[in-house]
C-alpha cells in the first residue's frame, strides 16, 4: 500500500501556538539560565555517600534541582566533615549517560528489550513462584550489599518465601576473616587505634581503602606517639604514618602471628590472668605454640628474627594498649589457603595481649537496635542454606552464615541446587575469581534478576535488569552505626529522579511482593523509618534535617564474654576439630608455591576507586590515566633481571589469561609479589571502560579455601615479561 502521508508522532505539545510565533529570540542563550548568585540560596541536604560502601555522612548542595557540590557532614562519625576523592567523583553519578532508564528483559535471541514495570513484576513473580513450587524455596538466592534497606526489603523478601540463601559481596572481601574471628572471639571487634600504644596492621591500609575516621584515628595515634607497624608485601599509601614497614613474603602472615604468640608466651609477655580465666583450652594453645619459633618464622616470612622478636616485645610490653588491627580484606580477608587460620591467630594474639574490650584495645561495640513496625508478618521457618554455612556436617560448616560462600554459586547452579537469584548493587560475575566460570554459572540460572543503576557483568547475563534510582535520588532506611558513641543515620533524597522510570529498591521489592501476595511482610519506607525513630525515642524530622543523630554511649569497658560456643575466647576450638581441622590454629602453607621466575599476583584497593564500578566515573578514570594508576608494581631487582624499565609496556600471563599493562618498577615491593590494583578490567559495556586495564580475577582460578570456602584470591602465579621482547 502506498502511503502518501507520514503519520506523525509529534512529541511536543504546544498549547498556544501564538507563544511560538511571538517568542522573542532573546529566550535563547544569554543570561536565560540562572547565574552564579543562585548557589547562595542553594539547599543543603544530608546524605550518605555511595562512592564506596562506607556510607560517610555528607551534605549535598542542590541549586535549582541540580547537585552543585558535596561536603563532609561534620556530625557524622565516619566522615567527620571530610570526604575522600570518590565522593567528589561520584557526585554526578545520577546524570551519568550509562544509567539504566527502564526495566529490561532478555528475549529468546539473548537481546534485551525494554518492558513495563507491570510486565516485569508479573513475569518475575510468576517465574519465581513456579521455580519455588517446583524446586523449593532453597533454590532461590539473593545477593545483596548488606545495608539496612537491603535487609528490610531484600532479605525479608527472600525469607518471606522461605529461603535462607542470602549472600553478599563479602565472599570476595572478608569471608575468611569473619569466619576466623567468629570462632575465636565470637565476632569482629574494631581496634581502638587512636588510643593504642602499638598497632600492627596486616595488609590493611587506611590510606588506600579509605574510611576517613579510621585514618584520622591513626593520625591521632601518630600524634600521640604510638608505634605503628605495617605488615604488607607492598609499601602502601599509609606507609608515611608507620614507624616500620615489614615487607613480608606474601601469604605468610600466619607464620608471623604464630611466632609472635610464641615469643609472647616464651617471654611471659602475655596476659596470663586473662587467658586462663577467659580462654577455652589455653594450655593446648600454649603447648602448640612452642614449635613456632621466630627462627622458624623468619625462614617462612623473609623477615629477620630480630624484627619478629621486636614486634612481639613491643606488643607484649605495651599490653593491653597494643593491638593487631582487625583488617578488612587486606591480607587475610579471603586471599590465601591459610587466611582463616591467620584470622584466628589475629584474634588470639589480641586475646594474649588481654586487650579485648579495653581502651586502646579491640572493642566490641554495638549499634542501636532498629525495629520495624509490630504489625508486620514475620517469616516462618526457613529452608537450610544451600552452601551449608553453619550447618554441622556440611562442607562449609565453619563459614560465617551472615555472608555465605557466594563464590560457590556456579557450583550450586551446576548441581541443580540453585535455580533463581536476585542481585542488587553487587557484581558477583566480575568480583569473584574466574570470569568464565562465574558467567557460565550465573547464566545457568533459570531466573536472574539484577537491580542496578547501570550495566555490570552480572547484569549482562541476567534475564531481567531493573533500573534503580541512584543514591542522591532516593531516601533509604534509617540505619545505625556502632562505636563508642553509636549514631543513627539516614540517606535523604537530594534531587528529583532524573529518570522517571527508575525506582528505589524498597519500592521495587515491595511492589514485587504485592504481586506475589507477600504484602503483609512489608510496609512503606516512611513508616519503617518513623517507627524506628519512635522506638529509639529520637525525632525523624530532626534526622531528615541533619542526617545523623548521636545516641548515648552503651559501651562498657571490660571483657563481657564471647559469643562463641564456649562463651570464652577459643584458644582451641571444637568446631574446627569437628570440621576436620585442628582445634588450635596451626601453620598452613599457601596453596600455590611460586615457581622460580614467576610472581604471586597480589592486589588491593586504590584510594580513588571502589570495587569495579568507579572506573566508569570520568573524573576518577581521568586520575587513573593521568598518574598511570593501572600499572603493575614489580620489584626493581626482578625488573632488572627481566629487562623491564619503569613505564615499560609489559605482559602479565598465566594459563588462564594474558593481558597488557605498564610496569611500575619500584623498590617498595617484595620481590616475589606483583601488585595490581583490583578495580580495573571491567568487561561491562560502559562509556569510560574502554581499555581500562586488567582484572586480577582473570588470573585466579575458581577455587576454595578449605575452612571458610573463601575464593583464595591471591593464590595464583603469573609470569611477567616485557611487551614486544
Amino acid at each position: 500500500m502506498l502511503k502518501s502521508k507520514m503519520t506523525r508522532r509529534t512529541f511536543l505539545k504546544a498549547s498556544a501556538i501564538t507563544g511560538v510565533v511571538a517568542a522573542s529570540a532573546s529566550y535563547v542563550g544569554r543570561g536565560n539560565i540562572s547565574d552564579a548568585s543562585s548557589i547562595q540560596d542553594a539547599e543543603k541536604i544530608p546524605n550518605l555517600c555511595n562512592g564506596c560502601s562506607s556510607r560517610c555522612g555528607m551534605t549535598v548542595t542542590v541549586s535549582d534541582g541540580r547537585v552543585v557540590r558535596v561536603d563532609g557532614n561534620p556530625l557524622h562519625s565516619r566522615s567527620r566533615g571530610t570526604l575522600c576523592g570518590r565522593a567528589h567523583g561520584a557526585a554526578l553519578l545520577a546524570y551519568h549517560p550509562d544509567r539504566l532508564t527502564e526495566p529490561l528483559k532478555k528475549n529468546e535471541n539473548g537481546e534485551f528489550e525494554p518492558i513495563s514495570w507491570e510486565q516485569a513484576y508479573k513475569e518475575i513473580g510468576e517465574k519465581l513462584q513456579t521455580i519455588i513450587n517446583e524446586h523449593g524455596p532453597d533454590s532461590f538466592a539473593y545477593f545483596q550489599n548488606p545495608k539496612r534497606v537491603q535487609r528490610l526489603y531484600g532479605d525479608r523478601f527472600v525469607e518471606a518465601l522461605g529461603s535462607a540463601n542470602i549472600f553478599s559481596h563479602n565472599a570476595s572481601c572478608n569471608l575468611s576473616r569473619d569466619t576466623g574471628f567468629k570462632h575465636v572471639l565470637g565476632g569482629v571487634p574494631s581496634g581502638d587505634v587512636a588510643n593504642a600504644k602499638v598497632t600492627l596492621f596486616i595488609g590493611r591500609s587506611y590510606g588506600d581503602g579509605i574510611r576517613p575516621s579510621q585514618l584520622q584515628n591513626l593520625v591521632t595515634a601518630k600524634d600521640n606517639g604510638s608505634k605503628i607497624y605495617i605488615v604488607d608485601p607492598r609499601l602502601n599509601s599509609t606507609s608515611n604514618l608507620a614507624d616500620e614497614w615489614l615487607p613480608i613474603k606474601p601469604g605468610t602472615d600466619l607464620a608471623l602471628l604464630l611466632a609472635i604468640a610464641n615469643v609472647l608466651i616464651e617471654e611471659n609477655l602475655y596476659d596470663k590472668e586473662f587467658c586462663e580465666e577467659h580462654g577455652n583450652r589455653f594450655e593446648d594453645f600454649e603447648r602448640e605454640m612452642k614449635q613456632y619459633t621466630p627462627e622458624w618464622a623468619s625462614d617462612k616470612t623473609d623477615l629477620s628474627v630480630d624484627v619478629i622478636k621486636q614486634v612481639a616485645r613491643d606488643l607484649g610490653e605495651n599490653r593491653p594498649k597494643a593491638i593487631v588491627e582487625q583488617s578488612w580484606k587486606g591480607a587475610f580477608g579471603c586471599n590465601y589457603e591459610n587466611s582463616t587460620e591467620t584470622a584466628r591467630m589475629v584474634g588470639l594474639v589480641n586475646a594474649l595481649l588481654g586487650n579485648i574490650n579495653v581502651d586502646g584495645g579491640m572493642l566490641f561495640t554495638s549499634g542501636p537496635s532498629l525495629e520495624s513496625p509490630d504489625n508486620l508478618k514475620e517469616p516462618g521457618e526457613l529452608k537450610p542454606r544451600v552452601d551449608g554455612a553453619g550447618i554441622k556436617g556440611e562442607k562449609w560448616y565453619l563459614a560465617d552464615t551472615a555472608k555465605g560462600v557466594g563464590n560457590a554459586v556456579p557450583d550450586f547452579v551446576k548441581e541443580g541446587k540453585l535455580k533463581a537469584a536476585f542481585c542488587q548493587h553487587h557484581n558477583p560475575v566480575r568480583n569473584h575469581p574466574d570470569y568464565e566460570v562465574m558467567k557460565e554459572g550465573y547464566e545457568g540460572l533459570d531466573l536472574l534478576v539484577v537491580v542496578d543503576i547501570w550495566m555490570s557483568e552480572t547484569a549482562e547475563v541476567a534475564d531481567y535488569v531493573l533500573p534503580e534510582s541512584s543514591w542522591l535520588e532516593r531516601t533509604e532506611a534509617v540505619e545505625g552505626l556502632g562505636g563508642k558513641t553509636p549514631t543513627v543515620n539516614l540517606r535523604v533524597q537530594a534531587i528529583d529522579k532524573i529518570h522517571p522510570k527508575t525506582k528505589n529498591f524498597s519500592e521495587i521489592m515491595s511492589e514485587l511482593a504485592d504481586e506475589m501476595g507477600l504484602s503483609d511482610y512489608f510496609t512503606d519506607l516512611e513508616t519503617e523509618n518513623r517507627t524506628a525513630c519512635e522506638k529509639l525515642g529520637i525525632s525523624y524530622d530532626e534526622l531528615l534535617e541533619q542526617g545523623t543523630i548521636q545516641l548515648e554511649s552503651t559501651w562498657e569497658p571490660g571483657y563481657q564474654g564471647s559469643n562463641t560456643e564456649s562463651g570464652k575466647v577459643e584458644f582451641a576450638c571444637q568446631a574446627f576439630e569437628d570440621a576436620g581441622f585442628t582445634a588450635v590454629p596451626k601453620w598452613v602453607e599457601p596453596k600455590v608455591t611460586i615457581p622460580e621466575g614467576e610472581f604471586r599476583l597480589i592486589h588491593g584497593k586504590q584510594n580513588i576507586h571502589s570495587h569495579t564500578y568507579s572506573t566508569n566515573i570520568p573524573k576518577l578514570a581521568q586520575i587513573s590515566k593521568e598518574y598511570n594508576l593501572d600499572s603493575v608494581w614489580i620489584n626493581k631487582k626482578r625488573a632488572d633481571e627481566l629487562g623491564i624499565k619503569d613505564g615499560d609496556p609489559v605482559i602479565i600471563e598465566n594459563e588462564m589469561h594474558t593481558g597488557k599493562t605498564t610496569a611500575k618498577v619500584t623498590e617498595a615491593i617484595h620481590p616475589e609479589a606483583a601488585f595490581y590494583p583490583s578495580h580495573y578490567g571491567s568487561r561491562a559495556s560502559l562509556t569510560y571502560n574502554d581499555d581500562n586495564g586488567l582484572s586480577i580475577n582473570d588470573y585466579t582460578p575458581h577455587q576454595y579455601e578449605a575452612m571458610s570456602g573463601a575464593p583464595n584470591m591471591m593464590e595464583t602465579s603469573v609470569q611477567i615479561k616485557k611487551d614486544g621482547a
Binding site: 539560565i33 547565574d35 552564579a36 570526604l83 584520622q216 608515611n240 623498590e667 617498595a668
Partner: protein
C-alpha cells in the same frame, strides 16, 4: 588584612587525590585540568624504602616570580597575600607558567569552552593562565579552602601567618615545617612537613 598561608603535613598525606578533586569541583575545572598535582618520590632500596608524597599547588609566594614576569599586571598579590589573577587582564602569554618554579599555573582552554558558552552566566576562563587562589571566595566568607575541608587526614592547615596564635603559625613552629625550595627566594607561603 592577613597574610594567608598553609601547612601541608606530607607525613599524614596518603596521596588520595581528595584535595585535587575537591579543588576541581570548587573551581569548576574540567576533568583533565587541576590546580593541585602530585609528585611521588621513592628513596632507598628494598627493604629500606621510603615513599614521599607531595601535593603541589600555587605556593602563594610573598615575592611571586609569576607576578614579577606578568607583563599585564594580571597576576597580583591581594591585600591578604593571596596571589590572584585578574583574568580580564590576562593575555595568556604563559610567561607566569614558565617563570613559576612550582609549575603551578594551568592554562584553561579546551574545545569544550568554545561550546555552549552562555557567556555572561559564569566564570570565563577562555585561555587565561589560572591557578589556585586559596579559594578566595570561601576565605573571604570566613570559610576554609576546599582542599583543606575535604582532607581526610587533616594534613592541611590554613590560616594567617601574621597571627602568631593561629593554629597554622603554631603548627609551623612545632612541626618545623619548611617551604619547598626556599633557596629560590620567592618566599613561598605553603609550608611542608616532610
Amino acid at each position: 588584612m592577613a597574610r594567608y598561608g598553609m601547612l601541608i603535613d606530607t607525613i599524614k598525606c596518603v596521596n588520595c587525590y581528595a584535595c585535587s578533586l575537591a579543588c576541581q569541583t570548587q573551581n569548576g575545572l574540567p576533568d583533565d585540568e587541576n590546580f593541585i598535582y602530585f609528585l611521588e618520590k621513592e628513596e632507598g632500596t628494598f627493604p629500606n624504602v621510603k615513599r614521599d608524597f607531595l601535593p603541589v599547588q600555587c605556593q602563594h609566594c610573598d615575592e611571586p616570580a609569576c607576578e614579577e614576569v606578568c607583563p599585564t599586571g594580571a597576576t597580583y598579590k591581594d591585600e591578604d597575600g593571596i596571589v590572584v589573577l585578574d583574568n580580564s587582564k590576562c593575555i595568556g602569554c604563559k610567561y607566569c607558567g614558565v617563570a613559576c618554579p612550582y609549575s603551578a599555573r594551568v592554562q584553561l582552554h579546551d574545545s569544550m569552552y568554545k561550546k555552549g558558552t552562555y557567556e555572561d552566566a559564569g566564570r570565563e576562563y577562555n585561555y587565561t593562565v589560572e591557578k589556585c587562589r586559596f579559594c578566595k571566595e570561601l576565605v573571604d566568607n570566613g570559610e576554609q579552602p576546599a582542599c583543606v575541608t575535604t582532607c581526610i587526614s587533616n594534613a592541611r592547615i590554613f590560616g594567617d601567618l601574621d597571627d602568631p596564635e593561629s593554629e597554622l603559625s603554631k603548627a609551623i613552629v612545632e612541626k618545623k615545617a619548611k617551604p619547598l625550595r626556599a633557596d629560590l627566594g620567592t618566599k613561598p607561603k605553603i609550608y611542608y612537613v616532610r
